[in-house]
């Protein structure tokens, strides 16, 4: 079982990684050719407005001073305001982060729900038709340009078949007639909590296309990873032991073998999850799913650094904690693994 000192050591290192990331981002933010003051004042500023903005933004101070000011505000939970929109970043994040999380978690569940069984079967029946099909799906999934797939999906399911909506998280009418109380910011959960099933259904159908599109790469990885771990684990002697004891194949694959084989799969899924937090940009844009990806892309294109740094920090925190959780989980799954 995990030890406390291990946890503390990891946390300290994580804080260092976080600090490193802020330093890198902050430095980049000051060498990138941009004009935060110009960004701050909007489209048609006057000279006065620009010089005032420089003062407000602290751009007249030396770089280390700016950094320290930023960090000390951050420690008080203040991400600052967007240079471009003047909105407090924390408020923005409260809208965008749950939207992205809902999408990304749905995608990861799809990848896990389809990819894991498929990968297990492919590994179990290596060399058979099932395996061939699963591998084909996997390699097609990891090779598919998602933005291209998104276009195809739009064309098929919205324009031609009129089955699924392609834009936003809710239909306009539902949004107007079903006021949603933001508890978690996840529409599926919030609507379920409120017992509003019409809203739930609407949120669900809006989620399907973007989530499936986003899941493709993770799905491919899951299948491949599960398959190869399964192939490896199924060669182990204890699988023969289990067979020699007359245990059913299903149980051997999905329990005895899978518990040994699942860690690499969870690792890739964990990393895909973190990657998708901002990597879903293209999908968010195409499906008008206004989340972290869209938010940060707009910030990047406008060189709105407070937003960029804030999002980077958020993503880094996710990265650090998901890694920690994965290690922890591995230790729970496999008693031989000791943390330290």
């Amino acid at each position: 079982m995990p030890r406390w000192e291990y946890l503390i050591r990891r946390l300290i290192l994580s804080v260092l990684v976080l600090l490193g990331v802020t330093v890198i981002t902050f430095t980049i933010s000051r060498v990138v050719p941009s004009n935060p003051a110009a960004l701050w004042v909007g489209p048609r500023p006057t000279q006065e407005q620009i010089s005032r903005a420089r003062e407000i933004l602290g751009l007249d101070k030396p770089l280390p001073v700016q950094y320290i000011r930023y960090i000390s505000a951050l420690l008080q939970g203040d991400f600052g305001v967007s240079v471009r929109t003047h909105q407090p970043i924390l408020t923005d994040l409260r809208t965008y982060l749950p939207a992205t999380l809902e999408l990304v978690i749905a995608a990861m569940l799809i990848a896990l729900g389809i990819g894991l069984p498929l990968g297990v079967l492919a590994g179990a029946y290596k060399g058979t038709l099932v395996d061939a099909i699963a591998r084909l799906i996997a390699v097609a999934c990891v090779s598919m340009p998602t933005f291209w797939l998104a276009l195809l999906f739009q064309l098929i399911f919205f324009s031609n078949l009129h089955w699924l909506p392609v834009s936003g998280r809710l239909s306009t009418v539902i949004k107007l007639t079903h006021p949603i109380e933001q508890v978690t910011g996840f529409y599926l959960i919030d609507s379920a909590l409120a017992g509003d099933w019409e809203l739930f259904r609407d949120a669900l159908v809006h989620l399907i296309l973007p989530a499936f599109t986003l899941s493709t790469y993770a799905l491919g990885l899951t299948i491949r990873m599960t398959r190869s771990s399964m192939v490896e684990v199924l060669q182990e002697r204890y699988i023969t032991t289990a067979r020699a004891a007359g245990l059913p194949e299903r149980e051997i694959f999905f329990k005895f073998a899978l518990k040994n084989a699942i860690v690499p799969t969870l690792t890739v899924l964990g990393l895909s999850f973190v990657y998708s937090l901002t990597g879903a940009i293209l999908i968010e844009v195409i499906f008008s799913w206004h989340g972290l990806g869209t938010y940060v892309t707009e910030a990047v294109l406008a060189v709105d650094f407070p937003v960029i740094i804030a999002v980077t920090i958020i993503v880094t925190v996710f990265y650090v904690f998901i890694n920690l959780a994965l290690d922890w989980f591995q230790a729970i799954l496999d008693p031989r693994v000791t943390l330290g």
């Binding site: 990684v17 060498v31 291209w148 064309l155 990047v300 993503v315």
Partner: protein, 300 residues
């Protein structure tokens, strides 16, 4: 000392034999061979684009507005684009930037990542800790974000797009090589070399690196596909090559707008990205199966 030399020779012979066996096995892998053919075809298409298309000047970017958005026809098998340029010519020329981005990104990433991983794995201790924490930082940094930041910092250009992607990519190789090195370090021949007093850089260069190259090669082949995808994604949001240079991602990006009316503009470059990425992935799988059926994509 002589026993030592003999050992090296024997290992090299064994490796040579191993390569021959791999060659034979590879040729039997139909998918991998087909993928190689696809890749070579695209590469040749890109290299000899000027001779393969009747519209080389359009491939290089010259507008031909009188034929704007012609649907596919014998003259223009893939149709023409928003400036009337032959889409086939653009796809052929686009292979130049897409393929070289894929290749160069992986080469740069391997060149940075491999030695660092070997150092971390070989020395362990604080060297390892330092390198791995830096690696963590780069991994934690949202990849597309870093790439975008660099591209917008240094300006949109082919080289910058490439550099940007490579910088987000190398940590994967560091992790892979470090893991391999950790186990190699304990193997007899390395211990023997250390016992013989062989200098550390020599050990790393002669004994560690050659032995990690197979998994790295396998990983790198598959990664070319992903790098092309990332490059395409960057071009898609307008941070790739500069117009009028053709690029598959940029073509899909521009063509996307016209997808309802003029689908050929986005469809063909999209298909090219898919095919090439698929081919590189299948090739990577093929090499993996041949090199070591047990190897698996090492992530941790």
């Amino acid at each position: 000392m002589q026993r030592w030399l003999g050992d090296i020779i024997r290992r090299n012979e064994a490796r040579l034999l191993e390569y021959r066996r791999m060659g034979r096995a590879f040729r039997r892998d139909v998918l991998a061979v087909a993928s190689l053919i696809v890749i070579i075809a695209f590469a040749l298409g890109a290299i000899f684009a000027p001779w393969l298309t009747p519209y080389p000047e359009q491939g290089e970017g010259e507008p031909n507005l009188s034929e704007k958005f012609s649907p596919p026809s014998p003259e223009h098998p893939f149709g023409t684009d928003n400036l009337g340029r032959d889409v086939l010519a653009r796809v052929l020329y686009g292979g130049r930037s897409s393929l070289s981005i894929g290749l160069m990104v992986v080469v740069i990433a391997v060149a940075i990542g491999t030695p660092l991983g070997a150092l971390a794995g070989y020395f362990g201790g604080w060297v390892d800790e330092l390198i791995m924490r830096v690696t963590d930082m780069f991994l934690a940094f949202p990849p597309l974000l870093l790439a975008i930041a660099i591209a917008s910092a240094l300006g949109n250009s082919f080289t910058n797009a490439m550099l940007a992607i490579a910088i987000t990519w190398w940590p994967w190789y560091t992790r892979l090589v470090r893991a391999q090195t950790l186990s190699l370090r304990e193997r007899e021949f390395v211990a023997a070399a250390r016992g013989m007093g062989v200098r550390t850089p020599t050990i790393i260069a002669r004994h560690i690196l050659p032995n990690v190259m197979t998994p790295v090669l396998v990983q790198a082949t598959s990664d070319i596909g992903s790098a092309i995808l990332t490059g395409a994604a960057m071009s898609f949001i307008g941070l790739g090559v500069r117009p009028p240079t053709a690029d598959w991602g940029a073509m899909v990006s521009t063509g996307r707008v016209y997808f309802l009316g003029q689908p050929w503009f986005a469809a063909f470059p999209g298909l090219a990205i898919f095919l090439v990425t698929l081919a590189f992935n299948l090739l990577g799988d093929g090499i993996r199966d041949v090199a070591d059926p047990q190897t698996r994509r090492s992530v941790q």
